[in-house]
Each structure stands twice: as structure tokens, then as C-alpha cells.
Symmetry: C2
Subunit: 516 residues, 2 copies
């Protein structure tokens, strides 16, 4: 199993078909493979040897995908740099896995100075932007134009393909080592669990430095489809691209879906080509799902649950659990995919009974090789041959896996348990509200009180009184927010996950919080 295999297939089976579309550029599979092979030749000339790490720092683009495959083709290991990080964090990840070569686009040129200062091993910068290559960098297009194509190194199986640095809410970031077999097997397993046609047109809107976004590249490439790429998520541009390129499938996070549905262009664009929406990073709330099903009736929604260490998908919630009859399972992450085993374990790694919350652990060909240079943390995470996700969850009597972010996300107020998700669902029914996070904050009287953080639609306003009145009509008074605040935006992770701990931390600094 080598990740470059689809390129050979594409060159042979669909040479003239569109492989990548970016802005006004479109390239066929024949062009893609030719450019990848020549860039790979150039990278080897620049000193990239088998197993060497090479970084990618840029927004989504056709060159990002070419660069990714060129590194693999040359025998290298990809280090996709988190674009939301500060230069110190980037430097940490580049240094940690000794990345000596970095491809960078126009959006991150300002980082070059600090990165060079902090990364003594960083020898070569390839400029993959649209303008003139800055001093001290090598021009991407010149390399492609002037290099002889390399032979595919045909790395495969347990050979390392990528190191992804996890954001890690605490401690130093860890480099997750994924092999060719890890990523290829998971792409296959995910496609089998979320049947989609070969040769589809797919939109990459989620960031490709994150494995959620990149996973879709690996899922589509063997199907020889067309990759439509946008630099980053922007609702108006995404709606326009779906219409223009007749996009059939995409991956997003629920927040992105909400922004799409809320956008004034939504009703003006022809979205009839859209058939498959895979979402991840967080579950879909019922109110949002209702709106999405009503406004996108031709679309199959599927949730994918996993993590970087799992390449990334191990559980999928199929379309039938988003609509009428199967709807009772909407809160679930889904069923384990064909190639994944899931266990729920207690603190001593014993199985817990059905319905009991414990730590979610996974086994299968998608489990990472380990953390770069961290044998102890690797052994700990992979003890007994199982990846311990650190997520709390349970399995119901039908085999559905539930992730209870809720354990951390449960508010204990006056002795009553309040589940944030339930309150959020209710608040999101208010037409003024764009985003909402319900957290527990310290309270002299109640221990914790229910606190709502809101982002409103532009031009809207909402009083705390109106918020409470709305909630009291639908849920118990103790569940209704006792306090609330309106913000311009929410703290989000690079993967588009709402970082609730950042909201909480401001309130809890210096205090200890009881965890459910």
C-alpha cells in the first residue's frame, strides 16, 4: 500500500480528467503526475533523502497537494504545519522532527524570518506562492519546469508517510507518526463506510494541514476524482465554488455548515450537485441538522469520528441516522468502520459494560506508529496494542459509539446535572444566534452556574432576559443560563473545533473544577 499509487492509476486511467482545480487553474491527472514527479526530482536534488521530513506551510492550494505527493514520491515524510500556530510553535514542530526542507506559500512569508532564526536545521525553503520567489528561497515553478522527473520511491506499508503535530491542549505538541499503510487503509475503510461514487468532484474547504481535511484527499485520490481546492473556508466563496464546479462531496465541521446555511447567498446558489457531506470534529446538533436536511434535501450526511493518531477515522454515523427513523442515534458518533475495533475501558484497561462510560480505545491498521521521539508517551497511548484516545465515551446496546465530551462538558449546578449540549440545542433555535457554547462557571451559590457564550448574526441583538425566557419555555429552569455574554467570535482550533476550555479557563483560573 503506497499512497502514491493513485497517481499512477490516474496517469494511466484518467490522464485527461481534471485532477485539481484551484482559483482559475485546472490541471489534469497527466499534468499532476508529471509535476509531482518533477518536483520530487527537484526535492531529491535539494537534498531530500529517503525518510527525511519535509514541511508544508500554506493555505489550501493545488500546490499544497502537489507538494504533499512530491514529498512522498521522493521518499520523504510530510510534516504539514499548523497554520494557526505562532512561529514559536511552528519552530518547535520543525525542530522536533528535524525538518530541513519547507515549502511555504505567500500567506506565511512573514514567518520565514523567525523560523530561520529558531530552526538551525532548516536549510531549504521552497516558495510555492503566486509571485516572485523572495530572496533565500527556491522557486517552486522553476523547480517543476527545470527538473527531470524522479522515479516513485514506492514507499509503502509501515514506511512513514507523515508526521502530524497535534495541538495538544496541554504540554508540548506531539508528532503523530503515520505510515503509508495507516493512511491508505483508513482512506479505504472510510470510503467503504461512506459509500461515494468513483470520480466524484470534491471540495476541500477544511484546512489540509489537519488530517480531517487531508483525509479527504486520500479518500478521493484512489477514486480518481476532481479535487476542487479553496484556500480556506469562506461561506460565500464555498457556495460559489459548489455551483461553479458542480461539487458533489465535501468535508466540514458543523460550525462551517451553520455558516453556510446562514449565509445570504445560500438560497441564490445552485447547490443541486451536492450529494455527500462528511462532517467531523464535533457532533451535529439536532436543530442544525433539521435545517440542513430541509435546505439540502439531496445530501447524505455522515459523521466521521476519530483523531490524528487514528489516521483519522474509526467510527462513522451513516446517513440513515440523520433522517427520520434512525434519528434517535443522531447524538452518537456512529458505528466502528470495517477495519476498526473499538473498546471502552476503565482506568485499568478492563472492558466496561454496555452503556457505561469509559475511555474509548481503538485497534486496527490505522493506529499510528507512535509519537516521534516519545517512546514513553507512545507506549502509554498504545498500551496493549490499543490506541487510547483520551476521549470518554460509551457503546449502546446497538453498538453505536457515543463520545461524551459531555463528561467534561457536564455542569453540576445546585446538585443537578446539566448537559451543555442540550442547552446549546435549545439556544440555537433562536434565529438571532449564530454560535453558542454553554459552560459551567464558578458560582458562590450553586457551585457552578450555567453560562452561555453567544455569537449573534450580524445586525442582531438579544437580551439576557429574552434568552432566558426562550429557554424556560423549553427546558427546566435550572438548565437555563443564569448568565450570558455575547462575543464577536468563538475560540476555534485549527480543525474548526470550538475550544470550550478556552472559554472556561478565564473563569476557572486558580480554582479546581469538579469533573463529572
Amino acid at each position: 500500500m503506497h499512497l502514491t499509487q493513485p497517481l499512477h492509476k490516474g496517469r494511466r486511467e484518467r490522464p485527461d480528467a481534471l485532477a485539481c482545480v484551484y482559483a482559475e487553474r485546472g490541471r489534469s491527472y497527466a499534468e499532476l503526475v508529471s509535476r509531482v514527479a518533477r518536483l520530487a526530482g527537484a526535492l531529491q536534488r535539494l537534498g531530500l533523502e529517503t525518510g527525511d521530513r519535509a514541511g508544508l506551510l500554506g493555505l489550501n492550494s493545488d500546490r499544497y497537494i502537489e507538494g504533499l505527493y512530491a514529498i512522498l514520491w521522493a521518499g520523504g515524510v510530510v510534516n504539514p504545519v499548523n497554520t494557526r500556530w505562532a512561529s514559536a510553535e511552528m519552530a518547535y514542530s520543525l525542530n522536533d522532527c528535524e525538518t530541513r526542507l519547507l515549502l511555504v506559500d505567500d500567506n506565511f512569508l512573514d514567518f520565514l524570518e523567525p523560523l530561520r532564526a529558531k530552526c538551525p536545521a532548516l536549510e531549504t525553503i521552497v516558495y510555492m506562492g503566486e509571485g516572485e520567489a523572495p530572496t533565500g528561497t527556491v522557486d517552486y515553478e522553476t523547480l517543476v519546469a527545470e527538473s527531470a522527473p524522479a522515479e516513485d520511491a514506492l514507499r509503502s506499508g509501515d514506511d512513514l508517510a507523515a508526521i502530524f503535530y497535534t495541538g495538544g491542549t496541554t504540554g508540548a505538541p506531539k508528532g503523530v507518526m503515520l505510515s503509508h499503510a495507516n493512511l491508505y487503509a483508513d482512506a479505504l475503510g472510510t470510503v467503504a463506510a461512506t459509500p461515494r461514487p468513483a470520480r466524484a468532484v470534491c471540495l476541500h474547504a477544511a484546512p489540509l494541514f489537519h488530517i480531517g481535511g487531508l483525509g479527504l484527499v486520500f479518500q478521493l485520490m484512489p477514486r480518481l476524482g476532481t479535487h476542487v481546492i479553496m484556500p480556506g473556508f469562506e461561506p460565500a466563496a464555498m457556495l460559489e465554488l459548489i455551483e461553479r464546479e458542480r461539487v458533489q462531496e465535501t468535508f466540514l465541521v458543523p460550525t462551517m455548515l451553520r455558516l453556510l446555511l446562514d449565509h445570504e447567498d445560500f438560497g441564490k446558489r445552485d447547490l443541486s450537485s451536492l450529494r455527500y457531506m462528511i462532517y467531523g470534529a464535533s457532533p451535529m446538533d439536532a436543530a442544525l441538522m433539521d435545517r440542513a436536511l430541509e435546505r439540502l434535501p439531496g445530501v447524505d450526511f455522515m459523521q466521521a469520528y476519530g483523531m490524528t493518531e487514528l489516521s483519522p477515522v474509526v467510527v462513522v454515523l451513516p446517513p440513515e441516522n440523520h433522517a427520520a427513523e434512525g434519528r434517535a442515534k443522531l447524538a452518537a458518533a456512529g458505528l466502528p468502520i470495517n477495519i476498526a475495533e473499538i473498546r471502552i475501558v476503565d482506568d485499568e484497561d478492563n472492558d466496561v459494560p454496555t452503556g457505561t462510560v469509559g475511555e474509548i480505545a481503538a485497534r486496527g491498521p490505522m493506529v499510528m506508529r507512535g509519537y516521534w521521539n516519545k517512546p514513553e508517551q507512545s507506549a502509554e497511548a498504545l498500551r496493549g496494542g490499543w490506541m487510547h484516545t483520551g476521549d470518554a465515551g460509551y457503546v449502546d446496546e446497538d453498538g453505536y459509539v457515543y463520545v461524551v465530551d459531555r463528561i467534561k462538558d457536564m455542569i453540576v449546578t445546585g446538585g443537578e446535572n446539566v448537559y451543555s449540549a442540550e442547552v446549546e440545542d435549545v439556544i440555537l433555535r433562536l434565529p438571532q444566534v449564530a454560535q453558542c457554547a454553554v459552560i459551567g462557571v464558578p458560582d458562590e451559590q450553586w457551585g457552578e452556574r450555567v453560562h452561555a457564550v453567544l455569537v449573534l448574526h450580524e445586525g442582531e441583538s438579544l437580551s439576557h432576559e429574552d434568552l432566558v425566557a426562550h429557554c424556560r419555555g423549553l427546558i427546566g429552569a435550572y438548565k437555563s443560563p443564569r448568565s450570558s455574554e455575547v462575543r464577536h467570535e468563538m475560540p476555534m482550533s485549527g480543525a474548526g473545533k470550538l475550544l470550550k476550555y478556552k472559554l472556561r479557563d478565564a473563569f476557572w483560573e486558580g480554582r479546581s473544577r469538579r469533573i463529572g
Copy 2:
């Protein structure tokens, strides 16, 4: 990737669901895994060590599937013995790969004497029949009942899982070595190319000693479906089982489909559960396809092309190429599956142009590890990293792969080329005809003449004059059979392939025949 993974999943995710149904016996996943683990423990006690070969000689049964997985669970390598072989051929395969342990059912007890005589290394015979264990054998059920469960050896990746002996029309049979990754990757790739729901009820009617039949076991097990097993194909019994067990999918060869459609019970059974029919070994003729589509309107037909050396599937013809619009491609084998690369090469391994006939070669994770103890033949078959199938074929401008058995199957008569398949299609429209093979036989006047071998439906008759009159109405006179014969049955391979060379050989003995 370890082939036993689905058992762990099944025990965890669907312990109470039916795993295997055979005759009046049904066993849950929990029972299946418990029996497999205990049988594996017994096999280890009987001397089976990691990497040792163990043979399976029997008709299809639940124990055949248990035995298969028990051998893998114990760390062994399965040698599924071809049940259509003479004892000398069986002995050859057992000796060739040093099989010291053999599981045998009631149908092959007569073979034990000659096998023991010819296979000095054969130390242990496990009796997996329904009666009392014969002298000199160990009783399967006793082993299961009295043994402690073994730990799964968790063999995986490049570790050998099975050795299949190919019938080989010439020369000694070759042991095709397939790894866990070979078989698991191909099962995944095939499922992705032939989308079918998880947890389906599947009927195993094709022989499990053949990789075509066994492949379906590997495709269904990770989906945790129900395996309905019949000892061997028999149309009335198959129709009854489909009705009784609400079977949703099955694998068969076109000949079997014809016998089903022709059977008097066909219209009497409720076949409405049937949704997916995968067929292989030979293409579907258009006349048969028409009847099947009309009489089984709810069924998706898919052709799978491959060979033992390819674990086995590399090309799939999807359902849309069996019905109205896509029908033009019905003669094709299909499109390469996601994980398979296909090339057509000339005698010097150069690619030939689109539409040109050459040898079909394949690359991907499903390509065998080689032939057992035949390094030269392995190197020859796998030269350049590609499996050379020995099949002649071409790829059309839409990327569809065609297998032209036709090169060998073309008749040159009076300077005109006649394609057997075309004549066969025409003859099969006659309601009297059950099976038909058109071959070239030596002729003083024409060099070769078109000769038809027919099997008629019971109670039917057909004169040569009527046959010719029918053909002349539909195809050119030179294509119509100049001679014909009626037989009771056709020579068939273990895989259900019509062995035309056996028909031809009788005519061509001592002569040389011009090929293509």
C-alpha cells in the same frame, strides 16, 4: 491488517447476531469466536506452529469457515484443497507445501487412505464431519469442546495467510502464496468497488476452496454479516435457502445463474430479499443478462475479474453497466478497483496503445507474495513489480478492461475471423439450450470450422438443421456452426469455469492450432 480482526469485532460488536448458518445449525458471533479460539488452541496442541500449513478438505460448511479462521488464529497458513482433484493432485499440493495437518469432512473420507500413502509428512487428520470420527482421525467437536482457547496469534501484513494451488491447465500446480495484507486489502477494495450494506445476509454457494468463493467470506466478515453456507451449488436448494434465510447477496458464476433461472422452482420461491449478485470466472452473455434483469429486477449485478494470484479481484463491472444505458460495456470485465493498477503490455513489457490487445498486468497490495518454492516462476510472473496474468485483454478509451479469452477463442475459418462468444450468444437464445461452447476444430476444407457443443434442457431436443437455421437468421453463414454435438454436461473447473480446452483437445490431439 490481520484477517482475524473481524472476529474480535464480531465478538464485541455483534455477539448475539448470527454469524454462520449451515443446514439446521446457526451460531452467533460469540459462539463462532469461542469455537475458533478453542479449535486454534487444539491445533497448536496438535503441533501446528507459527507459519505451518494446514489443509482444509471438504465441501462448504460452517466448520470449513471455523477451521479456516482457527488455522489463522493459531498462526498457521491455510491450504484449501481443491475438492475436484484426484487424490494424486491433492497429494501433490499437500506435499509441495509440507502440510502436516489436514481437516477433512465426510465427503472425502475415501481420500484418506491414498493421501496417507502418498503424503508421509501428513501427521494429523482432524475429522470435521457429522458422524463418528474414523479411526486414525481426531474429532473436531471433541477438540472444540475440550480445548482451552488460544490467544490470537495476530499474524498480519506480509505474514502468509494462505496457499492456494492453481488448477494450472498445463504443468504442475503452483502454490499461490497470499498474505494477510493481500487478502484483507483486496476484500476492502472489492467492497469499496461493489458497495453493499454492513451486516448483510450472504449465501456461500460457490466452493470455498476456490478464492472466488472464499473471497466473499473475507468481504462479509468485516461487515459482521451472516454467512449462510450450502455444501455446494444446487439450484433448488439455493432457491430455497434464499427464501428461508432472506439472503441479500451472493457470488456465483454465470453458469450457476443460468441454472437458477432455468429451474422450475425459480418462480415459486420468494427471492425478494436478494439485492447483490457478484459474478466472476467468465463474462455474462447478453441473452442471459436480459433474462436475469427481467426476472430479478431488484438485484444489482456486478462482475469481478481477477485471479488467485491477485487475492483475487482487481477489476469490477458496476451495476450500471448491466442495465439500459451503460449496457454497451457489458462485454467488459470492468474498471480497475481503487487499489489496483492495470496495464496492458506487449511481449517486452511495454505498454500498448489504448484498444490494443496485450497481456493484462496488475499492481497493488493484492499481488501475491509469489509461488511456493518456485522462485523462478515467481520472478517471471512478478517481473518489474507487476503480476502478469497470462490473460489477453485491452483497455478501451473509457478505461474499461476487456478480457479477450477471445484471442485463444477466435476461430479462423476460410480466412474469416469468428469470435466464439458472438456465436454462443446467438445459440443461447434458443429456449432448448442450457449451455453452449463454440470452438474451432480442424477441417480439411476450411482450416478450422465452427463447431458447437451443446447441453440441452431436460426433455428437449434440437436438430443440427434447426440450430443452423436459427443462427443463419442472426449472424453470417460463415459464423454458423458447420457441425454440432449434444452432451449431457460440460467439462467445468473447480471454480465453475467452462474448460473449453478440454473440448478442443479431443479434436486437436497431434495437430498444431494457429492461435489468433
